[in-house]
């Protein structure tokens, strides 16, 4: 569904991603793990069109057998329209907008009012706290609630590919568990997921496959179970 080949990205003069290639198949959950500064967020921001690629290609096929888009030359809003919804690092809720307005922003490019209302009800059923706090500014929510809002907002865009940047960041372990169970459920309902995590333990539990980034390069990849059993990975990312 998403194929990245030989991607090079610079930030200013710094060469952040070097010859990164990875693939996300339809229906999969793929994790991108690695230390701080390895280039995980940069990879996601380049996919979403927020950062330009120097070399390489990112191709995305929204529909099976349908057109293939080259995301390196597609503007950010067209990437969203093609079905990639991105939950950014630090959750990125609009804290001065109400919870309801945040969810509406997730459906910004859609104009099917009735379907939007139905999706809104579904998201509120999935996260009852959002319905209860509908008219409050999102800045009043707790960290976990903001994460739920960010996921709910991304779902309002009816994603084919859901991108999540550090969904566990700053959350209590119980909340992380709840969120990851939810991601598994969203995936079973047909949404492909690409997530970035520093918390390799939870990421490898959830994901089918994973890539390990180090200093802007993919140094290892494979089935999650195999990676979790790998000695090097255990030492570097799983705490022994």
């Amino acid at each position: 569904m998403l194929t990245i080949r030989h991607l090079d990205v610079f930030r200013g003069r710094t060469h952040v991603l070097r010859d990164v290639s990875l693939e996300v198949g339809r229906g999969e959950i793929v994790a991108l793990i690695g230390a701080n500064g390895a280039g995980k967020t940069t990879t996601l921001r380049t996919i979403s069109g927020l950062l330009p690629a120097r070399n390489g290609e990112i191709s995305f096929a929204p529909r099976e057998g349908g057109d293939v888009l080259d995301l390196t030359s597609t503007p950010a809003e067209a990437i969203v329209a093609a079905g990639i919804c991105h939950c950014p690092e630090g959750r990125g809720v609009f804290s001065r907008l109400s919870v309801h307005e945040n969810l509406l922003m997730g459906a910004y490019l859609r104009d099917d009012r009735q379907d939007i209302r139905r999706d809104m009800e579904q998201v509120c059923a999935m996260f009852p706290i959002l319905a209860a706090r509908r008219n409050q500014p999102a800045g009043n929510l707790s960290g976990g609630e903001q994460m739920m809002l960010a996921i709910g907002r991304a779902l309002m865009g009816r994603p084919r590919l859901l991108i999540l940047d550090e969904p566990s960041l700053g959350l209590a372990p119980l909340v992380v568990e709840a969120i990851f169970q939810l991601l598994a459920r969203i995936n079973r309902e047909g949404v492909t997921i690409l997530l970035v995590e520093q918390n390799a333990v939870v990421a490898l539990e959830l994901a089918h496959r994973a890539y390990v980034l180090e200093n802007g390069r993919v140094v290892m990849s494979g089935e999650s179970a195999a990676l979790a059993g790998d000695d090097n990975i255990r030492k570097a990312y799983l705490g022994g």
Binding site: S48, E77, M105, Y108
Partner: protein, 298 residues
């Protein structure tokens, strides 16, 4: 000093405050969305005043046609200025945009001098606008009645757009976090352009009112309203639309009452008073009256 005199001064303050609020709202919106201190904003007031004169006197159109026309001219100016001067330097440091806006301001003023000369013009409104009408026992010129009614209406219209429409929600989202707004599919170039258009449309309308109230216009007239709008926006809390409205009225009232209630020898200090007031308020409330502190929950 009697009650009627005081009431008359308050009324004058509200009239002036309405115009300040109208200019300050646009100033604050533009600051809110791209952190640009736009000193060219006041010059749209001048363009609004001259286009009123052109449509009204030269073309002889009726006022109800001229008013929306001038609002449209203001919006168009905003679009052109954003596209030509500010979009190319998106992402540059704040001071770069600030200096560019001074450049745009000086350019507009000098283009004005080139085309209509620096000579002040009499701004002749139709007679019925200058006639006095009696409102609650006060004699007020029709033009002032219109200013007091039209300015709040325009501001309410703007608040409606900002808080109740899809475009307005996108504007507020973009103001808060440009990158995340892009991740929602917002075309930020179009949203920022729309913000300039809306804010500048109100400044254009203020130009019509300014000319109508003071009766004389010239190409450099925009400087003071621009500066006062800046003060009003800062007093109210920069980036906050309700703050800009409140700041506009506070400033208008304070200025008029200062001139009206103190002995006439002090009246030439009115601008010094306005800027003194700014310093005083910022010492007590560094974020302005309605400004929020920049701290936010992670």
């Amino acid at each position: 000093m009697d009650g009627a005199y005081l009431a008359q001064q308050i009324l004058n303050g509200l009239i002036l405050g309405s115009m300040y609020a109208l200019v300050a709202v646009g100033f604050s919106m533009i600051y809110g969305i791209i952190n640009l201190i736009n000193f060219a904003h006041g010059d749209i007031v001048m363009i609004g005043a001259f286009s009123t004169l052109a449509l009204l006197v030269v073309l002889g159109l009726p006022l109800w046609v001229v008013a929306p026309g001038v609002v449209g001219v203001g919006a168009l100016c905003g679009l052109v200025i954003e596209r030509a001067a500010f979009r190319p330097m998106r992402g540059a440091p704040q001071v770069t945009g600030f200096i560019a806006s001074l450049g745009v301001s000086i350019m507009i003023q000098n283009l004005g001098i080139l085309t209509v000369t620096a000579q002040p013009r009499n701004f002749t409104f139709p007679d019925y606008m200058l006639a006095a009408v009696s409102v609650f026992g006060f004699e007020i010129q029709m033009v002032n009645v219109c200013i007091m009614l039209a300015a709040p209406l325009l501001v309410v219209g703007l608040l409606f757009v900002v808080h109740r429409t899809r475009l307005g929600t996108a504007m507020r989202a973009t103001a808060e976090n440009l990158d995340v707004a892009r991740l929602m599919g917002v075309n930020i170039n179009r949203t920022i352009a729309a913000t300039f258009a809306l804010g500048s449309a109100l400044a254009g309308a203020a130009g019509l009112m300014w000319g109508g109230k003071f009766g004389q216009i010239d190409p450099l007239m925009g400087f003071l309203p621009g500066l006062k709008a800046f003060v009003a926006a800062v007093i109210g809390g920069v980036g906050s639309i309700p703050g800009a409205i409140l700041g506009g009225y506070v400033l208008g009232l304070a200025e008029v009452l200062f001139v009206g209630l103190l002995p006439p020898v002090y009246s030439s200090y009115r601008d010094a008073f306005v800027f003194g007031l700014l310093i005083l308020i910022l010492l007590v409330l560094p974020n302005g009256i309605l400004g929020k502190s920049t701290e936010e929950r992670a």
